[in-house]
Symmetry: C2
DNA sequence: TCCGGTTTTGAATGATCGGTCAAATAACAT
DNA sequence: ATGTTATTTGACCGATCATTCAAAACCGGA
């Protein structure tokens, strides 16, 4: 039997994800990735192919682990409406252990216009966020909502969320943040 | 008397602006800028200092010429409320002669977190957009709005606009676009 | 016609980029 | 011990990056 891998893929992807999240795809060099992952160049290429493939894996890791976990955690033990509000509050407040904003939205700006495969991953992720909002809305018992209204409102919430993510990345103190939060509340009211 | 400059600064900035707008700061090389401006390397450095300074000039050109012109044109000959709606329609539809999205918002994502000077320019530009919406709202005669309500609604519109700009850059056909447009209408109604 | 001052030109520079590879290393089977 | 196989290692590669600079080109005045 040969020598076994001495690293955990998930740990490496987690480190790469944070680097890409904070500095963008083009702003992160292979030298940076060597540093943050602890692996050396050759192992990185042997295990993940090249920079773009490593990014794809990191983006999928973000989407499947971080983003899903984020939404699941917020939903747990909350009324549907509160889950939506808590989602926006959490984004506005920001997790100090994580870079600001959202890797999917960052990548939508930087890469989606020039890379179809990445654009598809992002589109899929966006659709799942919209579905999250739609599910929450469908389970609200405060008043009846037609399927059309649910779909429409979910899309608006998604748009507001993206706007909020951009604002918080550009300037964590932006006064627009509070206005968006109360708009979300009144949209659900 | 010495040899005079054989280029127009505004023309060069316009070309550089489009390149940065389409491909981002890091995605645009000096070689690209040489190509799109028609100037050669040395003249570019002699006239504008370096890449970052050229970008700053291009960003300010975008803000002072393109963005201001865009809003002014939409406002002209329109009721205040129609001007706001027309702004969102124009963003959603997109000008085929220009790159999608908005250079200010793109730069907010790519550079603002790591460059304070750029962050300030962006903040200022964002504030002027908010003021544009606030002015339109203040001049609406359909119903009375308190200053607080105007400020709040202007910020929400700004958030929706940013969301729309991201959506249109990532995917021009996104179904969220229509939902955002009708949300704007109902927000003004 | 020559000169002083300015711009243009494009070759050259060193740094950094993403990517490669042969050699060293480690675990197992014989 | 020895051989086999997979992984690790870091030096190395050509390409490209932003930037510089000396020389050529150009103009107006003397």
């Amino acid at each position: 039997m040969p020598w076994e891998k001495c690293y955990e893929e998930a740990v490496v992807l987690e480190a790469a994800m944070r680097a890409f999240w904070e500095k963008g795809y083009q702003g992160t060099s292979m030298a940076d990735l060597v540093e943050v992952t602890g692996l050396n160049r050759g192992s990185l290429y042997a295990g993940f192919g090249n920079k773009r493939e490593l990014f794809l894996r990191a983006l999928q890791h973000y989407d499947q682990s971080y983003r899903v976990g984020f939404l699941t955690r917020l939903r747990k033990d909350r009324e549907p409406k509160d889950a939506i509000i808590a989602t926006f509050d959490a984004i506005a407040q920001g997790d100090t252990t994580m870079p600001g904003g959202c890797l999917v939205v960052n990548s939508a700006m930087e890469l989606a216009p020039h890379d179809d495969e990445i654009a598809r991953i992002i589109e899929n992720s966006m659709a799942e966020v919209e579905a999250f909002f739609a599910n929450c809305l469908a389970e609200c018992e405060d008043r009846v909502r037609s399927p059309a209204e649910i779909s429409e409102t979910a899309k608006v919430l998604q748009g507001l969320m993206v706007g909020l993510l951009v604002m918080t990345r550009a300037n964590r103190e932006s006064p627009s943040i509070g206005a968006i939060l109360s708009q979300v509340r009144s949209l659900l009211g």
